[in-house]
């Protein structure tokens, strides 16, 4: 081992030890626990597939998982679609003070997550801003009830709460594009739309993929938005996990649900990356 390697490992070791103890070990422990059983308050070590069977037997559990994945996929698509034009504008059209624009866009992201989600409950609620506003100007007589407590509300709320996560990677990938490539395309007589589709878009794809994943993965397990604005129709897998570790008090079942969710999320991500890879091959 060279001296440099030794030094670098010394520098890295506290971080690696922490991650092994507080990330790897807990996940392994969760996997082990998912094969145990619980009677009352007592956990019984052992090896049973009971919890996994329960998950698939209760039809609502897989449905909730599927719904969470669909919701998060919609959130990811929506955030990327909404963020791309804004990122494009800052990268290519703004000449001065790009940083100012970026700070402006990311600022709301750094305010309380809970309150950002809660703000949507305030906006969409039965006595909320939209309803009370519309009633006070005489546009409607009865509050609209379809605004809150459904999947649409969860998707909009999450897309808003995670917007800044999407815009930064897209912006960085657009900013990296060599401007002379675009000039070359223009010189060769490509129309702006074609040079966007054939040069800019493919080159910014890494940023788009990073954004989509940065939004998709964490939101699948989101607990706050479904709880505050989702109602019973908007519940997601995070609520189910929380229930098992809370009121339901069935930790092994909760562990099994977590593990299944993790596998499902990883599976979706792999399929997504594979599709992107295939698409790139076709374009090239």
């Amino acid at each position: 081992m060279t001296r440099d390697t030794k030094r670098s490992l010394t520098l890295l070791s506290p971080t690696l030890v922490l991650l092994l103890l507080a990330l790897t070990l807990p996940i392994l422990m969760l996997i082990v626990l998912s094969f145990w059983t619980q009677v009352g308050m007592n956990l019984t070590p052992g090896f049973t597939l009971e919890n996994y069977e329960t998950f698939f037997d209760r039809r609502i559990f897989p449905v909730l998982l599927q719904r969470s994945i669909e919701n998060s996929a919609m959130v990811a698509v929506l955030t990327v679609l909404l963020a791309y034009p804004a990122a494009y504008f800052i990268a290519f059209r703004v000449q001065k003070r790009k940083i100012l624009w970026l700070i402006l866009i990311t600022l709301p992201f750094w305010t309380s997550y809970l309150l950002r989600i809660f703000a949507w409950k305030v906006i969409l609620g039965y006595n909320g801003v939209i309803n009370s506003g519309f009633i006070s100007i005489g546009l409607i007589e009865e509050p609209l009830t379809f605004l809150l407590n459904n999947r649409g509300a969860v998707v909009i709320t999450l897309a808003h709460a995670w917007a800044a996560f999407a815009i930064l990677p897209i912006y960085v990938s657009l900013e990296k594009i060599d401007r002379s490539l675009l000039e070359a395309a223009a010189d060769l007589g490509e129309s702006p739309l074609w040079s966007f589709l054939r040069v800019t878009l493919p080159l910014s794809l890494p940023g788009v993929i990073a954004s989509a994943l940065l939004v998709f993965i964490p939101t699948v397990g989101d607990y706050v938005a479904p709880n505050l604005v989702g109602g019973t129709n908007g519940l997601m897998i995070g609520n189910l996990v929380q229930t098992q570790f809370g009121r339901g008090n069935n930790w092994p079942l909760g562990a099994a649900i977590s593990i299944i969710s993790m596998i499902a999320i990883t599976g979706v991500v792999c399929v997504f990356l594979l599709l992107v890879h295939q698409m790139k091959k076709k374009l090239a």
Binding site: L16, L23, S112, L115, A164, G221, Y223
Partner: protein
């Protein structure tokens, strides 16, 4: 290109971006608006201007205790995370490490890990080793999620850092410790400050992990969560939320400012163009 862009400074794209900004800001701005409203229920029309929710908030002992806990937690978490993140960043930028890419991915993993699963996994471990839930258990989980942010900030700060400078200092007879203190540290300082502020903000705002891992002492987000169910408690929460909003804005602007100080001339040049 440049002249073409100059001709239409506010094209359809510009208009879109402004609307997008409005979409990002308007929901957050309802909080301060209603925090000054003289009514318990959050609804239009606005009844009148009042500061009583702010006065009530200032006298709410439970809320202030939660605020204090969160500030203490944020300070400790940001310091620990920044130390770890800086060490890791230095290892990656200064030395060539075998499997450097995989190691970086592993350390950055918490960035894309569903928090709820991390939360319950840690809960299981803590309960198995009979460690009572407390600020400490929340702190551990927060360091796990903050440290990758710190590492990324520090890598971007230290990348391109001329290691010749350190070698020159050592050739001139400085001890390794003095070299760090007099050469590396000043160069890394803006990154360190940015990292401290970012980690503080993340920890201060984090709800899900704290929700699973807190003992009898709630952090501010956990306290806010407990209040959201009671309509009469809401105006207080709105007042507090508005204060946090203002404070976050100040912190983020400071962090950004520190991160950019002399970071790379090329960035400033492109700005000037």
């Amino acid at each position: 290109m440049k002249s073409a862009a100059r001709k239409v400074p506010f094209s359809a794209l510009g208009v879109y971006t402004v609307i997008y900004l409005a979409f990002l800001y308007i929901p957050a701005l309802f909080l301060p608006l209603f925090s000054f409203n003289d009514a318990i229920y959050i609804a239009f029309p606005i009844k009148g201007f009042t500061l009583k929710w702010y006065e009530e908030m200032a006298q709410n002992a439970a809320m202030l205790a939660a605020l204090e806990s969160s500030v203490k937690l944020g300070v400790v978490v940001s310091i620990v995370s920044t130390i770890l993140g800086t060490m890791a960043a230095k290892a990656f930028t200064r030395y060539s490490i075998p499997y450097s890419r995989s190691l970086q991915v592993f350390i950055a993993l918490p960035l894309v890990f569903p928090l709820i699963i991390l939360g319950v996994a840690l809960l299981v471990v803590f309960s198995q080793i009979n460690l009572p839930l407390s600020m400490f258990t929340i702190g551990v989980s927060h360091v796990v999620i903050c440290m990758p942010f710190s590492m990324l900030v520090m890598i971007s700060r230290l990348e391109g850092f001329d290691k010749g400078l350190e070698e020159a200092a050592q050739d001139l007879g400085e001890t390794p410790w003095m070299t760090f203190w007099r050469v590396t540290f000043p160069i890394a300082l803006p990154g360190i400050v940015a990292s401290l502020l970012l980690c503080f903000t993340i920890s201060f705002d984090e709800f899900l992990l704290a929700f699973f891992l807190s003992g009898d002492e709630p952090t501010l987000p956990v306290y806010i969560w407990s209040q959201l169910r009671f309509p009469t408690k809401l105006p207080n929460v709105l007042a507090l939320g508005s204060c946090i909003l203002l404070l976050s804005v100040v912190i983020v602007v400071l962090a950004e400012w520190f991160r950019r100080i002399g970071v790379s001339p090329s960035v400033e040049e492109t700005e000037k163009q």
